[in-house]
Amino acid sequence: MNDLVDKPSVAPTTTAAAVEIRNLSFSYGSSQALKDITLDLTENEVTAFIGPSGCGKSTLLRCINRMNDEIIGTRVTQGEILVKGVNIHHPSVDVVKLRRDVGMVFQKSNPFPSSIFENVAFGLRMRGERNKSVIAQTVEESLKAAALWDEVKDRLHESALGLSGGQQQRLCIARTIAVKPLVVLMDEPCSALDPIATAKVEELIWQLKHHYTFVIVTHNMQQAARVSDRTAFFYMGEMVEFSATKRIFSNPRVRKTEEYITGRFG
């Protein structure tokens, strides 16, 4: 399931790290948002980025599929990011293909104003897939993987905008995995959802991590504790601590991390 897309922009390697971030520094104009960040995102694991607002966690997330390229005045001032061993800033890298390999789910669900079916099929059609049965099969597989199929199978051609918030977010996940990415980036994916819808998305992440590598930015530390294998804590553009999630939340090494997760600052 976790094959590269037909014409992958990045070549697979045997490393256990799906993404390697090496000494990365990043600036918004004159303001340095990330300072010398180094970490590996392990394949088939969930890595959580936590930290107070403005700490750089979302900026780092958006660096991984070069979403920050869209913001004028931003630049990587140092370091590199390798996705399956390939430097994503190399001139030969096709950014569109990179974003297919490194998919993204946003804070607010953003289904297209089209049918449920077409939302999931969109990425496949963009990729050039014309075979209707392949598209139909992939849509079904993706909706099943996103635990949404049973809820929508009888209304696939109705507007996606008629779904509940939680269903819309799972639809966005189905849309993301339909093109079989290597990595799925999630920026506060549950912040607009109620606890039941949140639990469904978390269960989905837990099931899908066997096929994909997840990175989740969250302000909800309980969510990070529940759903991630490793957690990185950021503060003022620096990565203060990166460790197994159980370790971070039971016995962090760094005092700053302890103060943040116990609610003593932030």
Binding site: A199, K200, E202, W206, A225, R226, T245, K246, F249
Partner: protein
């Protein structure tokens, strides 16, 4: 049976915790049974086995602590889930102490087994039967979340306390004319004491089972409800 959690990893962790508590409970009961058997049959080798197997119970206590803390850290359980974690961790502590008493019994059984036969050893058997039943019922109260059974253990333990006092009185009276058997009689007195303590620990498990099923605190003769209760 309660519904599953939407996030199923919580169920997996809870089942693992409970399974390990049940495993620890069965090993503890087995250790106690073998310790008494070694005393009554003068089986020194069996006593040695009990002493050696306590390590496994100790390891399980550490594992249950680890699993419980892991659930607290990761899932921030509430309500029944929270009470199950707290009760399971306390139960592991009580079971470990019960297994330690089984080891104490086995150590004394080993010493008695190496010396002349003690007819007085037979007075231990009824105490063991009472303590074992208390322990069995306590474990049942936990597994079935049976608060009535859990609450009943205190009065049942009163019977064990009474029998313990009678045994101590009997063994003490024999001490006066012990003819060199004083040391073994003292061993029996301490074995009786261990069984009485096992009854107390079983009562603790029963009280915790009431808290598990109803969030009601009955320790220290409390009649009020537990935190958040009426």
């Amino acid at each position: 049976m309660q519904n599953s959690h939407i996030f199923r990893e919580i169920d997996n962790s809870m089942v693992s915790l409970k399974d390990n508590v049940l495993l620890m409970a069965s090993l503890t009961r087995l250790n106690l049974e073998r310790a008494i058997h070694s005393l009554l049959t003068r089986d020194v080798d069996l006593a040695r086995v009990v002493i050696g197997d306590d390590t496994e119970v100790d390891e399980l206590e550490l594992k249950i602590d680890h699993l419980g803390m892991d659930i607290l850290v990761r899932f921030h359980p509430v309500a029944t889930d929270l009470r199950l974690v707290i009760t399971s961790m306390k139960m592991a502590c009580n079971l470990e102490r019960i297994s330690d008493h089984a080891v104490n019994i086995a150590k004394r059984a080993k010493k008695i087994g190496k010396s002349t036969e003690m007819v007085e050893a037979s007075v231990i058997e009824p105490l063991y039967s009472m303590a074992e039943k208390l322990l069995r019922d306590a474990l049942l109260a936990y597994t079935d979340a049976n608060s009535d059974l859990g609450e009943s253990l205190k009065s049942a333990d009163a019977g064990l306390d009474k029998a313990h006092k009678e045994v101590i009185a009997l063994l003490s009276s024999r001490l006066e004319n012990s003819d060199g058997r004083a040391e073994n009689l003292l061993h029996l007195i301490f074995i009786a004491r261990s069984l009485e303590r096992i009854g107390d620990l079983a009562v603790n498990i029963g009280e915790d089972s009431v808290f598990l099923s109803e969030a009601r605190v009955i320790r220290h003769d409390r009649k009020a409800s537990g935190p958040g209760g009426n």
